[in-house]
C-alpha cells in the first residue's frame, strides 16, 4: 500500500510539473512580450523586465513561474478585463463552477446508482430495458442537446425554470444546468453499476451469503453493492473529463459566470494568460481528483490495500 501510494503521488507530481513546463514554454514562445503594446522605450522595457524578473535565466524564471502558479498568482488578464489579476476573476467564478459541477456529480451518481441497481436486480424486465435506453441516450447525446431540450421545453415553453443562470437565485436557476450536466454521469454510472452488479449477483459469494440466510438490504448493500462499487470508482476519471467539457457548453448556454464560460471567452478573445491559468487549474483539479480516487480505491479494496509490494503495475 505504501509503495502504491508513493507511486501514485509521484506520478501526479510529475504530471503536474509536465503541465507547468508545457504552459511555461507556451508563454515563453508566445508572440510578443507583455509590454509590447504600450508605447515604451527600450530602456523602460528593460526596467520593467528587471522588475518582473524577465531578465533572469530561463531556469530561474521557470522556478518563479512554478511558485507563482502554485500560490495562485496567475498574472493579469489582457483582453477580457484589462490588467485585472486573474485570481480576482476566478474568485467569484470558481465557486460557481465547482458548485454546479458538484451538484451534477452528486445528483448524477445517486440517480445512476439507483437506476443501475434496479436494472440489475430486475434483470431482463422492463426496468432493465428502460435503464439501458436511458444510459445509451445519456452516453450518446452531448450534454448541450439535453441543455437545449431542457431550456426549450421547461424553460422557454413552460417557464418552470429560468432560462439563464441568476447569481441572486442560485438554487432555482441552477436546476436546468445541473440536470443537463448530470445526464452523462447518470448514464455512465447506471451502465457500469448494472454490469458490475450483475456480475456480483451471479457470484459464488452471493450464493454463500444467501445460503447463510442473509436477505434484503443487508444482502444487497453489504455483500453486493460493496463489491460492485469498487470497480465503479474507476469510471470517475472519464466522468470528470465529461463534466469539465460539459460545463464549458452548459455554462455558455445558461450564461453561468463560471470558469467554463470564462475559458470559452478567453479562447475566443485570445487572452493567453487566462487560458493558461485556467488550463493549469483544470489540470490541477483533474490530477488532484484522480489521485484522491486512486487512493480511495486502494483504501476500499483490501486486495490492493494489503498487497505486499505490488510489482510493476
Amino acid at each position: 500500500m505504501k509503495k502504491y501510494l508513493l507511486k501514485r503521488i509521484g506520478v501526479s507530481i510529475v504530471t503536474l510539473l509536465a503541465i507547468l513546463l508545457i504552459l511555461f514554454c507556451m508563454l515563453e514562445f508566445m508572440p510578443g512580450s507583455p509590454f509590447n503594446d504600450e508605447k515604451l522605450t527600450a530602456d523602460q522595457v528593460a526596467v520593467l523586465n528587471a522588475k518582473y524578473g524577465l531578465d533572469k535565466p530561463t531556469i530561474v524564471r521557470f522556478g518563479n513561474y512554478i511558485k507563482n502558479m502554485l500560490t495562485g498568482d496567475f498574472g493579469v488578464s489582457y483582453t477580457i478585463s484589462k490588467n485585472t489579476p486573474i485570481s480576482t476573476l476566478l474568485q467569484s467564478r470558481l465557486p460557481i463552477s465547482i458548485r454546479i459541477g458538484g451538484q451534477a456529480v452528486l445528483l448524477g451518481t445517486l440517480i445512476g446508482l439507483i437506476l443501475g441497481i434496479i436494472a440489475a436486480l430486475k434483470h431482463n424486465t422492463i426496468w432493465d430495458t428502460l435503464t439501458t435506453i436511458i444510459s445509451v441516450l445519456g452516453v450518446s447525446l452531448p450534454s448541450y442537446v439535453f441543455a437545449l431540450l431542457l431550456s426549450y421545453s421547461l424553460g422557454f415553453k413552460l417557464k418552470w425554470f429560468p432560462l439563464l443562470y441568476a447569481v441572486d437565485s442560485p438554487l432555482n436557476s441552477s436546476v436546468l444546468p445541473t440536470v443537463a450536466l448530470c445526464m452523462f454521469t447518470v448514464a455512465t454510472i447506471a451502465r457500469f453499476t448494472r454490469t458490475e452488479m450483475l456480475e456480483v449477483l451471479g457470484s459464488d459469494y452471493m450464493l454463500l451469503a444467501e445460503s447463510k440466510g442473509i436477505s434484503g438490504p443487508q444482502l444487497i448493500i453489504k455483500h453486493a453493492l460493496r463489491n460492485a462499487l469498487i470497480p465503479i470508482i474507476t469510471v470517475l476519471a472519464p466522468l470528470i473529463v465529461g463534466l469539465m467539457t460539459g460545463s464549458l457548453v452548459i455554462e455558455k448556454i445558461f450564461s453561468i459566470p463560471g470558469i467554463g464560460s470564462l475559458l470559452v471567452t478567453a479562447i475566443q478573445s485570445n487572452d493567453y494568460n487566462v487560458i493558461i491559468a485556467l488550463s493549469f487549474i483544470y489540470s490541477a483539479m483533474y490530477i488532484g481528483i484522480i489521485l484522491v480516487v486512486d487512493i480511495l480505491y486502494g483504501v476500499i479494496d483490501p486486495r490492493i490495500r494489503l498487497a505486499k509490494g505490488d510489482g510493476n503495475e
Binding site: 434483470h123 457470484s203 459464488d204 459469494y205 450464493l207 454463500l208 451469503a209 444467501e210 445460503s211 447463510k212 440466510g213 442473509i214 436477505s215 434484503g216 443487508q218 453489504k222 455483500h223 460493496r226 463489491n227 469498487i230 476500499i300 479494496d301 483490501p302 486486495r303 494489503l306
Partner: protein
C-alpha cells in the same frame, strides 16, 4: 415421514427457461435422509445434483421453476416441531428460518465463494448476528472457536484476514466454519473438494466427517468422485438426466449395483489394479434436456437397453429393503442380465480388500 427422517424429497421436478427452450433439469426425484447420516448424490455434470441442492436451499436462479414435488424438512430444535415443506416457504421465511440456521451449504470453489471485501471474522460472525442477534463479543468468541474447530491455527489473527490472504484449503475450512456458525442440522456439501489439491482433499473430507460426528449433523454430499463416496457416505443416490436411477446403502451400490449406468460409473473409476490398457468410458453423451425424454433417458447409451426402454420410463424396482434401481432389467420378464465381467472382477477384488481391511 418417519420419526428420524430429517429431509424427505418427494417427486421433485424443476425446469429452467432458457434461450434454447424449457429445460427439465429435475424430473421426479425422491430420497430420504435420516438424522445423523450421510447421503452422497453421484452423477455426471448436468445430471441435476446441484439444482436439487439449490432447491433445498431456496437459491435456485430466477429462471428456475419448481413444477411439482415436496421437500419436507423436520427440525429437532424446539421452536419448530412440525415438518415443513421448504418449497412452500417464501424467500423471506426461507432465509429467516432455514438458511444457515438449520441447513447450511459448502460450495465447490473456496476461491470464489468468500466475499473478497469482508474479513474472515466478519463473514463467520455475520450469520450469528443476523439470526440470533448474538452480541459482538460472544460472536467473536464463537467464531474463534469455530476456526479452531476447522483446524485453523492462529485463529485470532486470521479473524482479521481477508480471503485473498489465505490458501485454498484454508479458505474451504473458513467456508465450513461459516456453515457451522449457526449450528445447522443439515449440511450440504457441493463437491467440497474438487477445487482443492489432492493432498488437501482427504483432510477436508476427514474434517467434515469429524465435525459430523461431534455435532451430530446430517450431511448431503454432491460429487462425481466415487472415491469420495466410498469414504464418507452411508447412502448413495446415483443421478442421471434429472432422475435418481439407483439408490441404496453404500455397500449395495458398490458391490451389487443393478443399474447399467451405475455399472458404467463404477467401471469408469480409475484404480491401480485394473490391468486394462484403456480406461472404460460410458459411450455417448448425456441427453439434452431441452428435448422431451421418451422412455429411459439412459437407453441411447446403454448396451443392455431393451426395446421397452425406448417406449416407457422404468419405475423404481425394489431390490432390497434399502436398495432401489430404476431399470427394466429388474422386471421379471426381462432377460437375466449380469454386470459386465470386468466390473464383476473388480467388485470381487474390492470385496476382498474390504474383508482384509476388516480383519
Amino acid at each position: 415421514m418417519e420419526k428420524n427422517t430429517i429431509l424427505s424429497i418427494q417427486d421433485l421436478s424443476i425446469s429452467f427457461t432458457t434461450g434454447a427452450g424449457e429445460v427439465s433439469a429435475i424430473r421426479g426425484v425422491n430420497f430420504d435422509l435420516h438424522r445423523g447420516e450421510t447421503i452422497a448424490i453421484v452423477g455426471e455434470s448436468g445430471s441435476g445434483k446441484s439444482v436439487t441442492m439449490k432447491a433445498i436451499m431456496g437459491i435456485l436462479s430466477s429462471n428456475g421453476k419448481v413444477n411439482s414435488g415436496k421437500i419436507l424438512f423436520s427440525s429437532a430444535k424446539e421452536d419448530m416441531e412440525e415438518d415443513i415443506d421448504l418449497l412452500k416457504l417464501d424467500k423471506k421465511e426461507m432465509r429467516r428460518k432455514i438458511n444457515g440456521k438449520r441447513i447450511a451449504m459448502i460450495f465447490q470453489d473456496p476461491m470464489t465463494s468468500l466475499n473478497p471485501v469482508m474479513t474472515i471474522g466478519a463473514q463467520i460472525m455475520e450469520g450469528m448476528k443476523w439470526h440470533y442477534k448474538t452480541p459482538k463479543k460472544e460472536a467473536y468468541k464463537r467464531a474463534v472457536e469455530l476456526l479452531q474447530l476447522v483446524g485453523i491455527t492462529d485463529a485470532e489473527k486470521r479473524m482479521k484476514n481477508y480471503p485473498h490472504q489465505l490458501s485454498g484449503g484454508m479458505r474451504q475450512r473458513v467456508v465450513i466454519a461459516i456453515a457451522l456458525a449457526c449450528n445447522p442440522e443439515l449440511l450440504i456439501c457441493d463437491e467440497p473438494t474438487t477445487a482443492l489439491d489432492v493432498t488437501i482433499q482427504a483432510k477436508i473430507l476427514e474434517l467434515i466427517k469429524d465435525i459430523q460426528k461431534k455435532l451430530d449433523i446430517s450431511v448431503i454430499y454432491i460429487t462425481h468422485d466415487l472415491g469420495v463416496v466410498a469414504k464418507v457416505a452411508d447412502y448413495v443416490a446415483v443421478m442421471y438426466a434429472g432422475k435418481i436411477v439407483e439408490k441404496g446403502l453404500v455397500n449395495e451400490i458398490f458391490y451389487e449395483p443393478k443399474h447399467p449406468y451405475t455399472w458404467g460409473l463404477l467401471s469408469a473409476m480409475p484404480d491401480l489394479d485394473t490391468n486394462d490398457d484403456k480406461l472404460y468410458t460410458i459411450p455417448g453423451t448425456p441427453p439434452n434436456l431441452v428435448n422431451k425424454v421418451a422412455g429411459d433417458a439412459f437407453a441411447p447409451r446403454n448396451i443392455f437397453a431393451l426395446n421397452i426402454d425406448n417406449r416407457l420410463e422404468p419405475p423404481m424396482f425394489q431390490v432390497s429393503e434399502t436398495h432401489f434401481a430404476s431399470t427394466w432389467l429388474l422386471h421379471e420378464n426381462a432377460p437375466k442380465t449380469e454386470m459386465p465381467v470386468e466390473l464383476k472382477a473388480r467388485v470381487e477384488r474390492m470385496l476382498g480388500e474390504a474383508k482384509k481391511d476388516g480383519e
